[in-house]
């Protein structure tokens, strides 16, 4: 063994290593250039193909808008703006108004935000500012995992676990102590607006939490150190130094969560009760825009019925686009570092 290891370097030194490499270089200079035209043709067609793929994304969006608009034309003509203010949803007499669904979508989403925002900001604060380094990765992975669970599994869990808990424990308690507000009246079924709000909250927490974390990390460290140097406690540092600088981004995250909550279908359909009524109490069953499409689309007989459902889809599409665009602008304004750095300097 020792002998061999001694011999190896000697062998290497003796053999002329550089010889073959030199010959490659020499022959490379002798290669005639490939015809310019062929390269250009290949490059050009590759560019065109990739451009077509990119343009297909725009085409898809245009296609979505076109299909929704053309399929809802019948109902747009028949009802006009009254469609969005009428409470009548009567497939038997072909009268359609979307107000109960709009109400249900808005109320359940706002309820979800009210529950989700404090919890998301709290957990983001814990993960970025308080958590021991070893736990940080695990907790943020678990929160991300929450986003990977399909909607239908949330719904399944909500029907069999969450709804009984709400019916037996939470709703009687709410009715007793907060019943005077009028929001928690009537028979506690479990199934209803409150259940939908809670499930939606669980589903949008990962989005809001991860964006809040992102914008909090984007706040420069000097900001934190400066506040601490003034003698602030940790909480004062977080409040003044971090949260105040990140608030536009947190708002953006909340709106992004709202966008997801508005369009969420399966879990809500499974627990909201599916009754097109407007009730003040959160215990009462409701109906959302997404869930009426999910429930009635494949059974819709009659062109006007189908067209009305598509019009609800069109409205949902437009609202979520506006909400998402707004949210992205807000998040960009923070993670690009413009306001945070302006404060710091």
């Amino acid at each position: 063994m020792e002998n061999r290891s001694l011999q190896m370097p000697e062998l290497k030194r003796d053999s002329p290593v550089s010889e073959p490499k030199l010959s490659i270089v020499r022959s490379a200079s002798a290669i005639r250039p490939i015809s310019d035209f062929r390269i250009r043709l290949a490059d050009g067609s590759f560019h065109a193909a990739m451009l077509a793929c990119g343009a297909a994304i725009i085409a898809l969006l245009v296609l979505i808008v076109f299909e929704l608009a053309s399929s809802s034309r019948l109902s747009l003509h028949a009802f006009g703006w009254k469609f969005f203010t009428s409470q009548m949803w009567d497939p038997v007499n072909d009268q359609y108004g979307a107000l109960p669904f709009i109400y249900g979508t808005v109320v359940s989403s706002v309820l979800a935000l009210v529950i989700a925002v404090p919890l998301s900001v709290g957990s983001a604060v814990f993960i970025t500012e308080m958590c021991p380094r070893s736990l940080r990765g695990i907790i943020s992975f678990l929160v991300e995992l929450l986003a990977a669970i399909p909607s239908v599994i949330y719904g399944l869990w909500a029907i069999f676990i969450l709804v009984p808990i709400l019916r037996l424990h939470v709703e009687p308690w709410l009715a007793r102590y907060l019943g005077w507000t009028g929001l928690f009246e009537g028979q506690p079924f479990g199934i209803g607006m409150l259940a939908a709000g809670v499930v939606l909250a669980i589903m949008i927490i990962p989005i809001i939490a991860s964006i809040t974390r992102e914008v909090m990390i984007a706040v420069p460290r000097q900001q934190r150190e400066a506040v601490l140097a003034l003698g602030a406690t940790r909480w004062e540092m977080i409040r003044v130094g971090v949260l105040r600088n990140a608030r536009a981004g947190i708002l953006g995250g909340a709106i992004l969560g709202l966008g997801r909550a508005l369009g969420e279908t399966m879990a809500v359909t499974m627990v909201i009760g599916n009754r097109p009524e407007i009730a003040r109490s959160l215990f009462a069953p409701g109906y959302t825009m997404a869930s009426v499409i999910a429930n009635e689309f494949s059974e819709a007989t009659g062109d006007l019925y189908l067209s009305s459902l598509v019009e609800i889809g069109l409205a949902l599409f437009l609202v979520t686009i506006i909400v998402n665009a707004l949210a992205r602008l807000l998040v960009w304004s923070v993670t690009r570092g413009v306001p945070a750095r302006a404060h710091a300097q």
């Binding site: 898809l60 969006l61 399909p150 676990i161 406690t233 499974m270």
Partner: protein
Amino acid sequence: MPSNGAGAEERIPAVGVFRRFKDHLATFAAIAAVTLVLAPLIAIFVYLVYKGVGSLNWAFLTQTPKPVGEAGGGMANAIVGSMMILLIASAMGVPLGIGAGIYLAEYGQGAFGKIIRFTADVLNGVPSIVIGIVAYTIVVLRQKHFSALAGGVALAIMMVPTISRTTEEMLLLVPESVREAAYGLGIPRWRTTLSITLRTATSGVITGVMLAFARVAGETAPLLFTAFGNQFWNLNVNQPTAALPLQIFNYAISPFDEWHRQAWAGALILIILIVGSVAALRLVGRRGMMKGAS
């Protein structure tokens, strides 16, 4: 806050009791928030395993659903149907998404690239049920019946924006010097992109594809009126086809205990597929050069 030497304490006033109390309160509130956020996650997994494992057996994986009232039966047709729909979706969505990603990373520096990027973000936020409607009007209305193909089209539309944005991100991570080295050797641009840049970013691109795959694998809403569901075996792409999430939904809202049990078992299978792929790509992501794919 930290107590320094005796000399420092004379000049810096101690943190008041109330402020210290507020600090502790905030810490407590943050811990409570994390606990409340993680509780449903743990509850969901515990119940999935607890309820799912009990009804999971060989028959569940190999048989089709039995009529109401008969015990037994399974979701084999739904598992196969799901795979078929996902295969159709991937065949359409993956090449398109990667192509668009290549365009954005290699050619899309101008205004048109910006428009595509924004459109992809918008498309990402479109509710899945709306995509279902569009797939219905495009495919089902033309074909005059529900089909696996329509479900595949709906899921493909959902995959494209995710894949294109992650592909772009991963390609941009490849250092410019690698491309320049290739150009310096006289390799044409298209060949550089395919054999050098894309090749270098392969693991990241695969991560993006799997992320999109995991996202659409559990989608139910766009399949409701495209693939529609089926109680029997079907391998024809032009016929209504069962899908695992659809079957879970139909069984969960049914009034039968036996079907509820099967819904839990189906959910367990679905979550194993999805979480398994997410966890696997997380491992790959940590080992490979590409981080921050999610």
